[in-house]
């Protein structure tokens, strides 16, 4: 029963949501809307579960004085401050304390973290772009054109060339045609995969989301 009941729930809800697309009756669509709301609440609960787990891990680290426990205090303290600012004085509304924290702490810290990748991506580019094969050189040429075509330097380098072969225009052509054709193919392949996986889940063939235990 530990696996059968969830499988039955998955089947019934999955079939109901599938039927909703084909039956435009208001009872079906309003029930499906309610189900979507349930899904949103479960996602929110799972996000809070993740945050709760993070709190638990850091709390244990502090209690057992494990290496780096001082940093865990930083994490828990700033999390508590964010929560305290967010609760009584509004969330993301302009002018709220939480919004101030978001704009002046989270946005700059995260953008600095992501900008750090600019350095690591350079070494990754060296490995990926080495001229090992003809295909790799296509990757290299496309990337160089797109990178130069997006900055004023590319425009400056090719401004005396005919318009069709100026780097910004070549970038537009690459993005709009070969890139679009390739990603449309990937998108369609992935969509067919999603549909096949959805059917496997609804029919109970795919059970990995239930976990390993009985």
């Amino acid at each position: 029963m530990r696996r059968e009941i969830p499988l039955a729930i998955t089947f019934l809800i999955g079939i109901f949501m599938l039927v909703d697309f084909f039956v435009p009756h208001h009872v079906v669509s309003s029930s499906a809307e309610e189900m979507k709301q349930w899904g949103t609440i479960i996602i929110a609960a799972s996000i809070l579960l993740g945050v709760g787990n993070l709190i638990r891990v850091h709390f244990h680290k502090i209690r057992r004085r494990r290496e780096g426990w001082g940093y865990s205090i930083t994490t828990l303290a700033i999390m508590a401050i964010m929560f305290a600012f967010g609760g009584p004085w509004g969330t993301i509304e302009e002018g709220s304390a939480f919004n101030w924290m978001f704009l002046n702490m989270q946005v700059p810290l995260q953008s600095t973290m992501f900008s750090l990748l600019a350095f690591f991506i350079a070494s990754a580019a060296y490995r990926a772009f080495r001229l090992r094969s003809a295909e790799a050189s296509l990757l290299l040429i496309a990337a160089i054109i797109v990178m130069l075509g997006r900055v004023p330097l590319g425009q400056l380098m090719t401004r005396s060339w005919p318009e069709a072969v100026q780097l910004p225009n070549m970038t537009e052509v690459i993005m709009a045609y070969p890139n679009m054709a390739a990603f449309r193919g990937i998108l369609m392949g992935a969509a067919l995969g999603v549909m096949a996986m959805g059917l496997r889940i609804i029919l109970g063939i795919e059970r990995s989301y239930l976990g390993g235990e009985k």
Binding site: V51, T91, S115, L140
Partner: protein, 278 residues
């Protein structure tokens, strides 16, 4: 006051960049700060935007969307049930009862599996096919259409020949291969340019051919039910070329977005903090 906040921001920025030298306590502090701020942010957003108005408020305060609701009413139950399902997820903290969390997962996974099938077919397969079902001739006039189509086919055939046949028959010398590839790319682009000089519809024709052949090639590459030999092998090889261009373009785009973030932070340090640049 502003200067103090800017200085704190600048020191945190430098702490994060200190990782480029090696892992150190300043970086670890900033890293834990990022994790704490992000976790706090999501805690607030998900609790106050989803759990509080849709579960806590109707179930305990008997108010939904600012309106009072009755205890035990339909709306009250509709708020209680997903709330209970959400709570079931927390059963994983008690290994003996962890399995009841699967009920909530069943609702969520089943719901999104069912919800995904038809819209995904509609939006990502049918609509994409419709967008790609373009006129390879580019224009309505039959004579112009035939001329454009012929030009496009000749240029594309030359590219395909150089890319597939010549590469297969040719030397194993890497430089020669790259040379063939470059020649085909330059030929293709030159053809596109010549077409643009002759007529704008010719350009539309060629770009449409690129879209159609690129999609067919990419799909052929991902078709594993047959061996990639003969026509399918050739199409798959064309698909690889399109995929490589696509991945290169995406990589270039990602690099530029990261560099743009870096420029933003350097500008913060040099302009907002040190006032060294205008």
């Amino acid at each position: 006051m502003t200067f103090i906040w800017t200085t704190i921001g600048a020191l945190l920025t430098l702490s994060i960049y200190s990782f480029l030298y090696k892992d150190n306590p300043f970086y670890k502090f900033a890293e834990h700060l990022v994790v704490g701020v992000s976790a706090g942010y999501y805690l607030v957003i998900y609790y106050f935007n989803f759990i509080h108005p849709n579960v806590f408020s109707p179930v305990f305060l008997l108010r939904m969307g600012g309106e009072p609701i009755g205890f035990g009413s339909f709306l009250w139950w509709m708020a209680l049930i997903p709330g209970l399902l959400g709570i079931l997820l927390y059963a994983r903290f008690f290994p003996k009862f962890a399995w009841v969390g699967r009920w909530a997962l069943g609702v969520y996974v089943g719901g999104y599996a069912g919800l995904g099938i038809s819209p995904v077919m509609q939006a990502r397969v049918i609509e994409q096919l419709r967008a790609n079902a373009v006129s390879v001739a580019g224009v309505e006039d039959p004579f112009a259409a035939m001329t454009n189509l012929a030009l496009g086919v000749v240029i594309f055939a030359a590219m395909t020949y150089l890319l597939i046949v010549k590469r297969n028959l040719g030397t194993k010398n890497l430089l020669a291969k790259i040379g063939v590839l470059l020649v085909s790319a330059v030929m293709g682009y030159a053809g596109w340019w010549v077409l643009s000089l002759i007529s704008s519809t010719g350009v539309v024709s060629l770009t449409n051919i690129l879209l159609v052949v690129g999609l067919l090639g990419t799909l052929s590459y991902f078709f594993f039910s047959m061996k990639h030999k003969g026509l399918l092998g050739g199409l798959a090889r064309v698909g690889i070329a399109f995929l490589m261009v696509g991945f290169g373009a995406s990589f270039g785009y990602t690099v530029m977005s990261r560099v743009s973030l870096l420029i933003g932070r350097v500008s913060f340090l040099l302009h907002d903090w040190l006032h060294l640049i205008d």
